[in-house]
């Protein structure tokens, strides 16, 4: 009996270690990290994440051995109040294991990359002490993400949902006292707050959905809720799904809450790759997929989800065209790709959405990390160039050079306090000087020669994202487009145009960054990154090339081995899903458009490469449209005008007038304090106390004084008068006795 149980459940009992492993890692770094070297801190963190990956693999093996039947592992009682009874249960089914593999797999590679990246980043920003903190946050993120994907009920999912939001906040604001160019400012903290607040708006929607769900179903448990879907009225399900969509829009950066994601690029690049491209932002897509039985039962909500996704995909893609910051382009690209996924799951093409989620995690992590490598390469080049020029250069250069040198000195042991104090002084000194921006593509160019490995990796990522055969992105994007063409033509056209823009802005980026002549001396002196950075990239590149094998379509009625593998695998959880067949028309259009877009980008940016100081050639031909793209269609300014400014005004009104003038000045000071003062000063003090109690007490005193003043007359000191008194007394007494 016992033996059969063990064989039946295999490695299921390891499930809690999905969360425990990263928690152990972060605790080790938290407690002993100050004594560990950077290598050990990185090793512990990566090993913790790697352990979570190993557990995910073992769970997947166990699951496939039991033919994909969902399994649960109850860890502890959690909430038992009234009718609500929730346990902390890990749900192991094909959907959650897929997410676990992506999160921990990509996460581990990014951990390894981050060892190399943060080693240099903390030195460029002159605070090596923060190396440990970064890995503590990163492990915390993995733990929270694991809670999110392994949840067996919506409340547990919400715990992870909030946890990853917190980690996102902490990591965006990692360099909280500076902006992205390491100048002293609160720009990074503002970006962190923006992300957190935008996510709060989304979480509010999620919470409302949760409340309605509990009201309607009386449970948060996935299976219980899904079983009762048809017993609950249509309107209620629509309300739940739409409120949930608000949460998805917040977390997965969809219109109208996407504005936080571009600003979130203030975080270190591994964070952008892990949290803001590969894993956390896909939580919304996962949530909709997880709630598939809810969404599938209401077509109205599905249409809205699909349209939100498709419009986001196109809208963000247009903005990406006009950006100059290498990470901002990728950020808008991420929003756009998340739009693809949301559109897919909105149309009910859950497998296509998940497939794109996986491949996107591969190639977008690759792109972001390569971009990080480019940025570091430029930092190194800049450092190098500044050193070479020395102090006899013209004034601004000299200042930058000086600043870099100071940083260089700090490599070699300056006391902690001095290092802490440094950024502000340094920033004040260099404020009027234009600071070199290693993320600006206008400062790049020609990196193909100086950073060949990064160049080829970036190319692979670009081709995968642009959807060129046979890279991973082609297969997943094609599957979404295929579904859209069959079910929802508006979405199909929006996504196709978005795909065109995708290929275009990626082409633009490649030409601007890697081709042509260096437009800045830093680019000319750029250096290739070390192996600790490139090796994880190579692995991601391999995944980006081969990721399509996960779910190949049937081509010409021929099912290659591995065709529809993911469809079948997820089918265990999502029910029977029909596997798509490659449609020559859809695939052809998207491929031709992608190639066309790359050709256009070559015409504009590749043939005559951008020169230093030259304005973007598209600006001339497109004019105000490009300005719109460059300025992100002024969405931030519009939000500022219609939401933030009125909100600030309202809060100022509430603070000054309602709270200050009405409550504080009038109600508290005048009404309460005034009444109290009147009662105490006039009624009690003046009348009751002064004229009542005081008067009585004083009167007693005055009376006694008067009596004693009178009596004192008798005590005149004349012995004879005393004797007379005695005599009179005797006469009185004797007289009384006689006459009695």
């Amino acid at each position: 009996m016992l033996l059969s149980e063990v064989t039946n459940f295999g490695f299921l009992s390891l499930a809690p270690w999905l969360v425990f492993a990263p928690v152990v890692g972060l605790l080790v770094n938290l407690i002993f990290g100050s004594r560990l070297s950077e290598k050990w801190i990185g090793f512990v963190a990566s090993a913790a994440s790697g352990a979570a990956f190993v557990v995910s693999v073992l769970l997947t093996i166990t699951l496939s051995a039991s033919h994909g039947e969902a399994m649960r592992w109850r860890l502890a009682e959690w909430i038992h109040v009234g009718d609500l009874s929730l346990d902390w249960t890990f749900r192991i089914d094909s959907l959650s294991t897929t997410m676990m593999l992506v999160v921990s797999g990509v996460g581990t590679l990014i951990h390894v990359y981050a060892i190399g990246y943060m080693h240099e980043d903390v030195r460029f920003k002159s605070d090596p002490g923060r190396f440990r903190r970064f890995f503590v946050f990163l492990n915390l993120f993995i733990a929270m993400m694991m809670i999110l994907v392994s949840a067996d009920n919506y409340l547990m999912l919400f715990v992870g949902w909030e946890g990853v939001g917190l980690c996102s906040f902490l990591l965006i604001g990692f360099w909280y006292e500076m902006d992205t160019l390491a100048r002293s400012s609160w720009a990074n903290s503002d970006a962190a707050k923006k992300a957190f607040i935008a996510n709060r708006v989304g979480d509010f929607g999620f919470l409302i959905a949760g409340f309605i769900m509990f009201f309607a179903f009386g449970s948060f448990q996935f299976d219980t809720v899904f079983e009762k879907v048809h017993e609950v009225s249509h309107g209620v399900i629509i309300a739940i799904t739409l409120f949930m969509l608000v949460g998805v829009a917040g977390k997965s950066a969809q219109i109208p809450l996407y504005v936080w994601l571009p600003d979130a690029m203030a975080g270190p690049t591994p964070v952008s790759a892990l949290i803001h491209a590969a894993t956390m932002v896909t939580a919304g897509v996962y949530l909709i997929t997880r709630s598939a039985p809810l969404y599938s039962s209401v077509h109205e909500a599905q249409n809205i989800v699909a349209m939100v996704g498709a419009i986001t995909a196109l809208f963000a893609a247009t903005i990406a065209v006009g950006q100059y910051d290498i990470k901002k382009v990728l950020a808008y690209s991420t929003i756009s790709q998340l739009g693809f996924m949301v559109a897919a799951v909105g149309m009910g093409a859950y497998v296509a959405g998940m497939f794109h989620l996986i491949t996107h995690a591969f190639f977008k992590a690759l792109l972001f990390l390569s971009a990080g490598s480019v940025i570091l390469g430029l930092e190194r080049g800049h450092h190098h160039a500044a050193h070479a020029h020395g102090h006899h250069d013209e004034k601004p250069k000299k200042k930058i050079g000086k600043r870099k040198e100071e940083r260089h000195d700090e490599h070699h042991g300056v006391s902690r306090a001095e290092r802490r104090a440094e950024p502000k002084v340094e920033a004040r000194r260099t404020e009027p000087v234009e600071v070199f921006d290693p993320g600006d593509m206008r400062n790049m160019g020609g990196l193909r020669k100086t950073m060949p490995v990064t160049f080829w990796l970036y190319m692979i990522g670009t081709l995968a994202l642009a959807g060129i055969v046979p890279f991973a992105g082609f297969w997943s994007k094609d599957e979404i487009l295929l579904d859209a063409s069959l079910h929802f033509s508006t979405v199909y056209w929006l996504l196709t145009i978005a795909a065109f823009f995708t290929a275009f802005y990626m082409g633009r980026q490649i030409w601007m960054v890697f081709f042509g002549e260096p437009r800045h001396e830093a680019a000319a002196h750029a250096e290739e990154s070390p192996k600790v950075i490139t090796v994880p990239l190579v692995m991601l590149a391999v995944l980006s090339v081969l990721g399509g094998l996960l779910n190949l379509p049937i081509i010409n009625h021929v099912a290659l081995p591995g065709a529809h593998a993911l469809t079948e695998w997820l089918g265990h959880t999502l029910g029977e899903v029909e596997g798509g067949e490659l449609d020559g028309m859809v695939a052809g259009i998207s491929t031709v458009l992608a190639l066309l877009a790359i050709w256009f980008s070559w015409l504009i940016y590749g043939r005559n490469t951008l020169q230093a100081g030259q304005i973007d050639p598209l600006k001339k031909s497109l004019g105000f449209i490009f300005t719109g793209m460059e300025n992100k269609w002024a969405i931030d300014e519009i939000y500022q005008a219609i939401i933030i400014t009125p909100f600030t005004k309202l809060s100022q009104f509430l603070a000054d007038v309602i709270d200050g003038k009405f409550w504080h000045d009038w109600f508290h000071d005048t009404v309460i304090a005034g009444t109290y003062n009147w009662v105490s000063n006039i009624a009690l003090d003046k009348y009751a106390d002064q004229k009542g109690i005081d008067a009585f007490a004083n009167g007693l005193g005055v009376w006694t004084q008067n009596i004693s003043a009178t009596m004192r007359q008798v005590q005149n000191g004349f012995v004879r008068s005393y004797a007379l008194s005695v005599l009179l007394g005797v006469v009185l007494i004797v007289g009384y006795l006689i006459l009695k």
Binding site: R712, V714, Q715, N716, G717, F718, V719, R720, A723, L724
Partner: protein, 100 residues
């Protein structure tokens, strides 16, 4: 035999003279003498009653009074001498430092 009334009247007259002396005079010595007069007026009355009643207890009592009076005189005169030493006067009206 002289009637008792005469003794009592004499005693009363002497006592009254004593009281008047105490009240009217300011010289401490005179007051002292007046007090003696009052004491002896009382003694006289007691002795008279003792004789009439043929009881010796009254006469014994008077012996004690005379003895005590002698002691009192000793103390009183000593006080007066001390007062005179400090004040250079035995005017009782000047001895008023304890008045309220």
């Amino acid at each position: 035999m002289i009637p008792i009334n005469y003794y009592i009247i004499l005693s009363a007259i002497l006592f009254t003279i004593g009281v008047t002396g105490v009240l009217v005079r300011r010289n401490a010595l005179i007051i002292f003498m007046s007090i003696e007069l009052m004491l002896n007026a009382a003694n006289l009355a007691i002795v008279a009653f003792s004789s009439v009643l043929e009881s010796f207890s009254g006469q014994i009592f008077v012996f004690f009074v005379i003895a005590v009076a002698a002691a009192e005189v000793a103390v009183g005169l000593a006080l007066i001498v001390e007062i005179f030493k400090s004040k250079r006067s035995i005017d009782v009206d000047q001895m008023s430092s304890l008045k309220g």
